[in-house]
Symmetry: C2
Subunit: 696 residues, 2 copies
């Protein structure tokens, strides 16, 4: 999964699932820009966005391909996102002398802006429905493997025909409604992205893992980049202007962003797989990584700088999964899903037109059963979790490039397809830093996990370890490989299979050793699980259309969506949680926790306290339907102005990405007023505030 | 296991394992006080402790039944141990206003000393060999279950005959050499233990989990209690005096303490089980608990106070197990074990007298195979890890008391045997505090783990959860149970089965629900794994005697042992690590880590720096053979004087509790000079220093 799960599912009202009427209620939904929820908005809010409004918001929205959302917020290419979306880049740009992740950054002039390595932003330009074209490539008599190949080939062809790499035009065929629809998304791609401003991590992630997914909160989780092209800051066709007044309780707001993944159409069989196998296993691995990296990071400041961003991502995922699992284990929530499936099964059984769907439930159940038996093998080998180092990923990409590139495009592994190749090369040739000690730590641990799972006597484990202990083997691999050098990677990649075979590199040799097994498991997963499920879910999605009409929206796919909702507090254990926090509350929370990490305020915030208007709203909650990937999404009022910045969901919003419960679930935002107040009074960044407020 | 693994295995020279000569070499060995290593000491150090020396050291040594070691160090009953051994009590004695664990404690007068709840100390008075008596209870024709019962009955009878609860005399039959020998240990038991002095946790555990098991170190890991009886401080028959000069490099030292558990006689089959199943599974659970409690503890100061001691124990175990597993995964170390077993098997095969031993290898291998299939079930139900709250333990003890107490002593579960009953009651009636929120957290997580392992559809899981989510079920159980009240526990216990059955308590009902399964799994483990292994290891131990004579010592059993060694630095990655650190080094380490947690110095240490002699030795290393349970053991010179205090082992000593490698493995001690310097100059505790140095 390329999407980081930063922000978790908040959702909207679905009491209806227990009845026989359809699904999207209240503020539920992650809507497509080419199928916006006009009826719902009209009915509940008496608001109808016109085509210009939609185009403006769409083209102001930015996707961070590293996993997150953002928006153009000035006429000179300023992009706003979360600090935690920019954190990878902040860390990569840091040096022993300058720790931008910890201490923040502010470029006072264009010359001081720093170019990020390997960061790609996309801005969606157009959507075209290509469902008929894609589905026509598959005939009913095809075996699943052939169907998969045929579909991939068609998708590759459409993408190639519509992409224009030279002009930075990217084309992606997006699978929606589990294969029920295919849409062609053409985007403008930017790769010259420069860092403009970031606050200290201590205020961006105030409360740390302890307060993560909690509310009330006090996080200035914001970060600004500027987009360049041809050496010039871009003047975007569309950008969002800054609200003068900010939002208020009860106000309608919109969120435009890239929710990563939801599983709201999943059958009970799949949910049970997740509950009983998938989530528990994932949590086991996350726990292991968290303990490993946390204890290493604490040994020295240098370790901290190398590992803290990865640790932060792991802790975040862990907390999210714990929340998700808690939902799956809640008989009340699962009961509602069961009731919904019963309603759906009744509909499917009653209609001859949905014969495919009737079989789909069994197909999915069988696939989930197989998945439970394959998930660990596939995790270790196909996903490479047994070889947890960036160098292994590079080695494998090189090895496979040698094998895949000579093939016709349609027969390659999807990531080597023509449309994707440029992004793959961009990532492979990135000279973002890695650290041998950190890579050794992770590789040694993952080899230990491999040995613990299969036992030391397993023949492939024996070959992988080559007579060494996991620690010694990891040290030998990491210190011995030359793929850590971007120039070597480039040379080998360009030299093709001959050069790669002759490289005599221990990490490439390891990738080679396990590649047959890795590919076999991947293929088994794709052909026996993914493809049958894709077909089954497509049949179900079709049947659901027949049942519920167009009142539905597809599961999230890390593509641009529009959500809406109300700024609104909630009740928790009988106590009212207000919609807004303010700057005074920040200082109180820090004091009550002894001003100690993770509640320690950055020095500047102590020093500038007297200058601040402590009544400035800091964070607020709303009922907008968001999930991981929405991090950095602008919160917009009906006039299309920025009033906030999505950065998290509360713990109740973790109840699941699979079902909604809006009673307490809320999306968390940084208030736009806090951003401007902090820029002006804490960071002496009046120029930036002026740019946002179009005062210069 | 009742022994906490605080300090890990250091060991001694075993190059000999590769040859055909026997085992104990160099400074190896955790020797029995009734079979001390006189020949080795004479040969290597030209030193022969006489009977008086041995008796003096033995009766000055103290066992902390909470898991650790200590020693009498003054004529008025002062006992020295580690801060981390006393930490449970420091936490229990703390209040919202006074955090003794974090801030330290010093009773300036006897009246200020605080009584600890539930703490029991033992001082070994005599050892008697009862092997013949115990083994005579078992005849060769008995089935394993009957043999087990007969042996337990005999042991119970011996313990009962020799104990005198009214006079605080405790009797324990100790199983040594895996059942090759049984010794009766008669101890004086003390339960009125009062806290006298503890430093801040920040200096006791300076470097925290980050520096744990590392060297060089700078930890003042010391804590003093005073033992009372009949309202008076005891005047112990024996106590250790304080060395004037302290130790120096190359000096012979002794360690008298209670190593918890070693597995040096384990067969390759058992080591492979640990490597491939036992350790990986244990680490999975430790990782899970560490993440759970660490994230909870960080939410508030109140959480920290409730959970940090448990967290510390978990992190410590985790690091120890990672080190142990690394050793098991090291082909070089395992190769030496394999070679040793080959030598042993050859000996066994060659002699008709060891026919039992020849079969023993297969018996153990079969038992380990079964263990791998049962370990998780037994962990969840028999050990109760599915119900991770102190309240469940109380409920189960009450439930079983109702069933067991009416039985004849010989037929009861061992913990309800006459000799053990008093300790069980003491623990059950303790009013040490527990916290509902913390108990709910742990119980909810363990129920989640249970559901994740068996699946929600499992019939017993369904009954355990009773239609609720793990969170809701845990909340209902913890908030609903009355066993949290010591008075209720006492009343139910005294009321017997009738009262317990009528209690209508949700936690007792839960214990009842799973008790059949729990007992069945426990019985299966005991009769099909533990008992056959016990017999097999007894045969092996006997055969090893025949092979190696009395040059061996038994595996550790949390009973008093004598180790010896040399104060000695070592080489690491080609660099010399000196034997001693000093106070100047403490301040340097703190500064280089930004004086931040866990390297933040307590305020007093900053303020008093100028007064200190910074050349005072702080910690030192030696080759003494120690392991978890030795924490708090005195380090004694040849004159029987205190020169240090064992508190840890270095990371190299983690290579295993199953094989020795003295090249780098070292025991870590607090230097006695640092203790006195700190007491006098940092803590204004000259009175206590005077008491130690017998100046008052």
């Amino acid at each position: 999964m390329t999407v980081r799960s930063r922000v978790l599912a908040a959702v909207a009202a679905v009491g209806a699932l227990m009845t026989t009427t359809p699904t999207a209620h209240g503020d539920e939904g992650m809507w497509l820009f080419n199928a916006p929820p006009l009826a719902q908005l009209k009915a509940k809010y008496n608001f109808t966005p016109d085509a210009q409004w939609l185009e403006h918001v769409q083209k102001s929205s930015v996707r961070f391909n590293s996993g997150g959302s953002g928006s153009f917020v000035s006429k000179t290419g300023l992009v706003m996102t979360n600090h935690h979306v920019g954190a990878d880049d902040l860390q990569k740009l840091s040096t022993n002398e300058k720790n931008y992740l910890r201490d923040g950054f502010h470029a006072k002039t264009a010359a001081e802006e720093i170019a990020c390595k390997g960061l790609e932003l996309n801005v969606l330009q157009s959507i075209k429905i290509v469902t008929d074209e894609v589905t026509a490539a598959v005939t009913p008599d095809m075996a699943p493997a052939d169907a998969f190949k045929a579909r991939q080939a068609k998708i590759g062809a459409i993408e190639k025909a519509n992409a224009d790499p030279a002009k930075g035009v990217r084309a992606d065929v997006v699978t929606l409604f589990a294969g029920g629809q295919y849409h062609l998304y053409v985007s403008k791609k930017y790769t010259d992205i420069r860092l403009v401003f970031a606050p200290e991590k201590g205020i961006a992630f105030f409360g740390g893992d302890a307060d993560n997914f909690e509310y009330p909160r006090y996080d200035l989780d914001v970060c600004f980049f500027r987009v360049y092209e041809g050496g010039q800051a871009v003047a975007p066709e569309h950008f969002l202007s800054w609200s003068e007044a900010g939002s208020k309780e009860g106000e309608l707001i919109f969120v435009s962003g890239h929710p990563g993944r939801t599983t709201r159409q999943n059958t009970i069989a799949e949910l049970e797989y997740q509950r009983d196998t998938g989530y528990p296993y994932l949590l086991t691995r996350l726990n292991r990584l968290e303990v490993l990296i946390n204890s290493w990071v604490q040994r020295s400041e240098s370790n901290r700088q190398k590992g803290e961003e990865e640790l932060f991502g792991i802790q975040n995922s862990r907390k999210a999964r714990i929340g998700g699992l808690a939902g799956l284990l809640d008989p009340a929530l699962m009961g509602r899903k069961v009731a919904d499936e019963e309603r759906f099964r009744k509909f499917v059984t009653a209609s001859a037109a949905t014969a495919d769907a009737a079989k789909a439930f069994d197909t999915i159940a069988a696939a989930e059963k197989l998945r439970a038996t394959l998930v660990k093998d596939a995790g270790f080998y196909a996903n490479g979790s047994a070889f947890n180092t960036a160098y292994f990923g590079m080695a494998r990409t090189l090895l496979r490039a040698g094998d895949e590139k000579p093939k016709p495009a349609a027969e390659r592994l999807p990531e080597f397809g023509d449309a994707k190749l440029q992004s793959l090369e961009f990532a492979l040739f990135s000279d973002a830093p890695h650290y041998d000690d950190f890579e050794t730590l992770k590789l040694a641990d993952s080899l230990t996990m491999l040995a613990g799972h299969y036992g030391m006597a397993d023949p492939l484990v024996t070959k992988v370890l080559a007579g060494k202990s996991p620690r010694d083997r990891a040290f030998a691999l990491v210190s011995g490989t030359k793929v850590k050098d971007p120039a070597v990677r480039k040379k080998l990649y360009e030299g093709g299979k001959g050069a790669i075979d002759a490289a005599n590199d221990p990490m490439i040799d390891l990738a080679k050793l396990v590649d047959a097994k890795s590919r076999e498991l991947r293929k088994e997963f794709e052909t026996k699980i993914d493809e049958p499920k894709r077909a089954a879910y497509a049949a179900l999605a079709k049947a659901r259309y027949q049942m519920d009409g167009d009142k539905t929206y597809p599961d999230a796919t890390f593509t641009l969506r529009l959500s809406y909702g109300t700024v609104k507090g909630y009740q928790e254990n009988g106590q009212a949680v207000p919609a807004f926090t303010d700057m005074a509350g920040l200082y109180e929370r820090s004091k009550s926790q002894g001003n100690k990490d993770p509640f320690e305020l950055p020095k500047r915030w102590e020093e500038k306290k007297a200058k601040l208007d402590l009544k400035t709203p800091f964070n607020f909650v709303s009922t907008a339907d968001i999930i991981g990937g929405n991090s950095g999404s602008p919160v917009i009022n009906a006039k299309g102005e920025v009033v906030g910045l999505i950065f998290d969901g509360n713990i109740q919003s973790l109840v699941l990405d699979f079902i909604y419960d809006a009673t307490e679930a809320r999306a968390l935002s940084v208030d736009s007023r806090a951003i401007v107040e902090a820029l002006r009074k804490v960071y002496d960044a009046g120029d930036l505030a002026d740019e946002l407020q179009a005062k210069k």
